[in-house]
C-alpha cells in the first residue's frame, strides 16, 4: 500500500460549500484501492515520518513534558 499521498495537492476535496457538485472532487490516486485524502487535513503518514525524522527531539520533549507538569495530550474525562 502506497503511503506517499501528496498532502499538499492544491485541489482540495473537502465537502466544499456544495456549489461545485459537478466538479470532480477527488484527486488521482496512486494508492490503488486507497482513496485520496480530502482537503487540507495533513496526511498522518507524512506527519509521522516528519516526527520520526528528527523534527521531534525526545530530550526537549522530556524536558518540556516534565517541566510543564504534564503531557500535551488532552486530559481524560
Amino acid at each position: 500500500m502506497d503511503s506517499q499521498i501528496n498532502p499538499s495537492h492544491p485541489e482540495h476535496t473537502a465537502p466544499s460549500a456544495a456549489h461545485q457538485e459537478d466538479v470532480p472532487t477527488t484527486t488521482p490516486s496512486t494508492a490503488g484501492a486507497l482513496l485520496p485524502f480530502f482537503g487540507a487535513v495533513p496526511a498522518l503518514t507524512v506527519v509521522a515520518l516528519q516526527f520520526a525524522a528528527g523534527s521531534f527531539n525526545p530530550i526537549e520533549f522530556l524536558i518540556d513534558s516534565y517541566g510543564s507538569g504534564g503531557s500535551h495530550r488532552p486530559e481524560q474525562k
Binding site: 465537502p15 460549500a17 482537503g39 487535513v41 523534527s55 530530550i59 500535551h72 486530559e75
Partner: protein, 285 residues
C-alpha cells in the same frame, strides 16, 4: 417556545403516541450528552460569536446537527455492540434500528425550518453539504466495520486517517461549513470553515482514540494500535511516544487550520482560541 428536541413537530403527524415516546427515549439522553461535550459546545459558541449574528438560524441548524450526530452515535454503538445505558422500550434490536432510522429522518427534516430564515439557494447548498458529508460518514463507517482483521503496518495509518476523516472529520466539516454557509454570504469563508471543521473533527477522533485506548477492543483500528509502527526514538516509553506524537500531530493540524483562515484574521484568532480550548494541555475534553 421551541421544544429542546423540537419533538413538537412530531405531534403534527399521524404517529402513534408510543412511537413518539420511543423516539424521544432514543434521542434525548444522547442529545443532552452532546450538548455538554466541551469540544461541541465550544465549537458552536465560537462559530456563533465570530459569524454575523443570526441566533435563530444558528440554533435551528445546531439542533438538527446535534440530533443527527446523536443518531449516528447510536447507530455506531449498535453496530459495535457497545453497552447502552438508556435503552428505548423496545423488544428487539430490529425495532431499535428502526428508531435510529426514524431519528435520522427526523433530524434531516429539521432543516426544513431554515427555509423561513435563509434564501432558498442557501438552503439547497446546505442540504447538499449535509448529504455529501453524511454519505462520507457512511462510507467511513462501512470501512471501519470492515477493517478489523486486516494486517497492520505503518501504511495502515493512512487507512486509519481515511476512516477518522470520513467519519468524524466530515461530521465537523458539516458543522463548521453549515454554520458559515448559513450565517455568512462569503462562499470562500464557508469553504475554509468546512475544511477547518474537517481538521477539527479529525483531531477529535485522534484524541478520543488516544484517550480511550485502554477500553478499545483489540480488533479496533485506532491510533494507539498503530503507534508501534511509527519509527521513533527508543528512549521513550509507549505512553511518552503517544504523548509526543499527539503533540506533534496537533501542532501540524493546528497550523494547517490557521493557514486556511489567513485571509480572515478575526475568524483565525477565534479558531486558534477554539483549538486551544479543545485540545490544549490541562483542558478537559
Amino acid at each position: 417556545m421551541t421544544h429542546p428536541l423540537r419533538l413538537t413537530r412530531l405531534t403534527q403527524l399521524p404517529l402513534r403516541q408510543e412511537f413518539r415516546e420511543q423516539l424521544a427515549e432514543l434521542v434525548r439522553p444522547q442529545v443532552e450528552q452532546l450538548w455538554q461535550h466541551p469540544p461541541i459546545v465550544a465549537m458552536f459558541v465560537t462559530l456563533s460569536a465570530v459569524l454575523p449574528k443570526q441566533e435563530q438560524t444558528a440554533k435551528l441548524f445546531a439542533d438538527a446537527w446535534m440530533l443527527m450526530y446523536a443518531t449516528i452515535g447510536r447507530l455506531d454503538s449498535l453496530q459495535d455492540g457497545d453497552s447502552i445505558l438508556v435503552l428505548p422500550r423496545v423488544a428487539t434490536v430490529g425495532e431499535h434500528y428502526n428508531l435510529v432510522f426514524a431519528s435520522y429522518v427526523f433530524a434531516d427534516s429539521l432543516l426544513d425550518d431554515l427555509a423561513m430564515h435563509v434564501p432558498e439557494g442557501c438552503l439547497y447548498s446546505l442540504q447538499r453539504l449535509w448529504n455529501n458529508c453524511l454519505l462520507r460518514m457512511a462510507d467511513g463507517q462501512q470501512q471501519d466495520l470492515a477493517s478489523g482483521a486486516a494486517p497492520r503496518s505503518f501504511d495502515t495509518l493512512a487507512v486509519y486517517q481515511q476512516i477518522a476523516q470520513a467519519k468524524t472529520g466530515a461530521t465537523y466539516a458539516l458543522a463548521f461549513g453549515g454554520m458559515a454557509m448559513l450565517l455568512s454570504d462569503d462562499r470562500e469563508l464557508a469553504d475554509a470553515f468546512t475544511q477547518v471543521g474537517e481538521i477539527y473533527g479529525t483531531l477529535i477522533q485522534y484524541a478520543d482514540d488516544l484517550r480511550d485506548a485502554a477500553t478499545q477492543p483489540n480488533a479496533a483500528l485506532t491510533l494507539p494500535a498503530l503507534l508501534p509502527f511509527i519509527p521513533h526514538a527508543s528512549a521513550l516509553t509507549p505512553p511518552q511516544i503517544a504523548s509526543a506524537f499527539w503533540s506533534y500531530v496537533y501542532g501540524s493540524y493546528h497550523n494547517a487550520a490557521l493557514d486556511l483562515l489567513a485571509p480572515y484574521p478575526n475568524e483565525r484568532d477565534a479558531v486558534a482560541a477554539l483549538f486551544t480550548a479543545a485540545f490544549a494541555p490541562g483542558t478537559p475534553q
